[in-house]
């Protein structure tokens, strides 16, 4: 989990807490909000999260996948786009890094900015604090019998010093292990009642380690400085610390002192002290909110406590946990995905072999499984390396219930795949029409042509094992071609939008990308392409983009994408085989 992910997931939680705070600030014990902020802090600091089926994200995922299933197909495993090669020449098998500039550079720049921000924030806090700290250290002891008596009566484990300074205007507390309460020189030591409230308030801070909490809050702010909601959290939680302390004081002295205590606060506010973010200030920020909060303090009812507990527990389980993942994102997503597919169809004889990472049905290896009802294509993204006896499977339904799996031929499987979902939608409507044409034509002459190509490819594969050297990826059925140059996109089969956009770009210049059970094929002018290169970087020496290089797939076209200085695709050119060899050595 990255800092950004932590920040984002915590943002939602912060918003929830802000709403709860706005609605129930005066209705619930103030500790409730401190507890809620505590959950937020955990979310912001702990780089992993507990999965919960009650998490709001599980719900979102469920709703989300529900919509997806209605719309069409979801593929359970990663569908991959042609191989991407970055500057360093390392082959990357991911469509997510489809970027023209090197992602590594971008990332380190962002990292740098983030670190600089963290340091700047931390420096601000530390410098301000140390400056104040130096001033506070010059404070003098107080020779006052009432203060000394109070100190004796309210002794805690840590030794607390109460001192006086002429450099502060309002009482404050600093220090975690050796706390020091500072009173301004202007304190009226004869007004013992008011003095009592001040000391009780500061002692409440000490007992609850609020100074430590403030340090943690500041640290979180330094880490998440780029997130405005964390700043909001910082301000509000600091206020809530004070509100909670006020509440404690009122509880100690009884509700009758509410107005006297509020008046004492106002008196102190008049001599507001200078800003130090890391000390527990008696009078600071939003005095109005504090006065209101004090005046509205009531005896906490049992209902209030229960409500507060429910709120804290509910919020933490619903928003602070992550979704219970159905597709675990571990280092081996594909093998796990394979196990998952096997689990889905376990009742119908599908098994998964971990060592060879393949699915088996009736002792035969399985290429792909097509569930026409849910419009889901199950496949391991292993690509072309299936043995000859590998089979295709389709699901069999009876009265909307899955009852079994059936073996079908490759051609039959392709035809089934091309059968369209019965859903509508502005965008997909067009596609449906296109596809119907495609299917209709496939029944005619052009269908044979397409089948022929498959035969050709099969032969080629038999001849040359390493034929598709840079494309170990299965891209089954995200594009279908009727063989006449008409290409239909099925955006629901798990390719990213950027990939699709790129394909649409190629299509404009007559280059068609087809992925199927055999791997990915490129077609140009109705024939197979054996070499294609597209350098996104616009710099020959600095390659980043797509290379499709097969030696012996029977294709006759060697192609190169031409891009202008703005990196816009302007043409796809035919090149000769020799030049292609030369280019491929660039990497």
């Amino acid at each position: 989990m990255t800092i950004l992910q932590m920040s984002l997931s915590a943002s939602i939680l912060i918003m929830v807490v802000i709403v709860i705070r706005a609605l129930a600030l005066h209705k619930l014990p103030k500790k409730t909000f401190l507890a809620l902020w505590g959950i937020v802090l955990c979310r912001l600091l702990i780089p992993f999260s507990i999965q919960s089926q009650f998490s709001i994200y599980t719900l979102v995922e469920k709703i989300g996948s529900g919509i997806m299933e209605q719309n069409g197909t979801t593929t359970p495993n990663t569908r991959m786009f042609p191989t991407f090669i970055d500057n360093a020449g390392i082959t990357q098998n991911t469509g997510a890094t489809l970027q023209t500039t090197s992602p590594a550079v971008n990332l380190s720049q962002i990292m740098l900015i983030w670190i600089v921000g963290c340091i700047a924030c931390a420096l601000f806090f530390i410098v301000t604090h140390l400056h104040c700290r130096r001033e506070y250290k010059t404070a003098l002891p107080i020779q006052n019998s009432f203060v000394n008596k109070w100190k004796q009566e309210h002794s805690i484990k840590r030794t607390v010093q109460i001192r006086q300074s002429d450099k502060i205007a309002a009482p404050l507390t600093y220090g975690i292990w050796k706390p020091i309460v500072l009173l301004p020189k202007t304190t009226d030591y004869t007004d013992e009642r008011r003095l009592q409230y001040i000391l009780a308030h500061e002692y409440a801070h000490i007992k609850r380690f609020d100074t430590l909490l403030k340090w943690v809050l500041a640290a979180v702010l330094c880490i998440h400085w780029f997130n405005p909601l964390v700043w909001v959290m910082y301000i509000l939680s600091n206020r809530d610390i004070e509100l909670s302390c006020d509440e404690t004081v009122v509880r100690i002295f009884g509700e009758t002192i509410k107005s006297a205590y509020a008046l004492a606060l106002i008196g102190l506010e008049e001599k507001k002290s200078r800003f130090n973010p890391l000390c527990n200030n008696f009078s600071k920020n939003s005095i109005e909110e504090r006065i209101k909060a004090i005046m509205k303090i009531k005896k906490t009812s049992l209902v209030g406590i229960i409500l507060a507990l429910l709120l804290v527990v509910g919020t933490s389980t619903a928003f602070a946990t992550s979704a219970q993942t159905t597709a675990p994102q571990t280092a081996e997503p594909e093998s796990l995905a394979g196990q998952e597919i096997a689990d889905i169809f376990a009742d119908f004889g599908l098994t998964y072999d971990n060592t060879s990472d393949s699915l088996f049905f009736d002792a035969k290896p399985v290429r792909e499984i097509w569930d026409a009802t849910t419009r889901t294509l199950y496949a391991l993204s292993m690509g072309a390396d299936f043995p000859d006896n590998a089979i295709y499977l389709i699901t069999i339904y009876e009265n909307d219930t899955l009852v079994g799996l059936a073996e079908v031929s490759g051609e039959e499987f392709k035809r089934t795949l091309a059968t369209l979902p019965e859903t509508s939608g502005e965008e997909s409507e067009v596609k449906i029409e296109e596809c119907k044409e495609a299917v209709a034509e496939e029944d005619g002459t052009s269908g044979k042509k397409s089948d022929m190509k498959i035969e050709e490819r099969k032969e080629a594969a038999a001849e040359e094992d390493e034929e598709i050297y840079s494309l170990g990826t299965g891209m089954s059925g995200f594009l279908s071609n009727d063989g006449n140059g008409t290409t239909t996109y099925d955006s629901t089969k798990g390719i990213t939008e950027s990939e699709l956009a790129l394909m649409v770009e190629y299509e404009k210049f007559g280059l068609t990308v087809i992925g199927d059970a055999y791997g990915t094929e490129y077609f140009y002018k109705g024939d197979l392409v054996c070499f294609f290169i597209d350098n996104h970087s616009g710099d020959d020496a600095n390659f980043s983009g797509i290379v499709y290089d097969t030696e012996n797939n029977g294709g006759s076209y060697y192609l190169m994408a031409k891009r202008d200085e703005n990196n816009k695709l302007i043409a796809i050119e035919e090149i000769n085989a020799q030049y292609a060899d030369e280019i491929s050595s660039w990497r």
Binding site: K137, L140, D166
Partner: protein, 123 residues
Amino acid sequence: MDIKLFDSELKIMEILWKEGDTTAKRIAEITKEKIGWSKTTTYTIIKKCIDKEAIERNDPNFVCRPLITREQAQEFETTELINKMYDGATDQLIASILGRKNLTPQEIDRLKQLVDHLEKGSL
């Protein structure tokens, strides 16, 4: 002599007024015992006083010598108080002090003598 001294600085000055020229080390010992300041804190305050030209530093041994007298400091504080609280009118301050009614007959006698003395002096 316009030197505003904070309480902490006055504490150092008081030691110097009482003990005369003192080394910084000795001041730090006294403040540690009496006030609970650390050595660095005391040295920081001494440095402030040197900057304000209330203390002169003489080496070796960092001997501190007060550059202002207790009376000068008192006078400054009083002037500031009069200017701040009594619009610069000294009689108002005196009236305010007399109005507190916690003066002993002896103190009142001394004040009377002081006033007489001032009257004769001004004539």
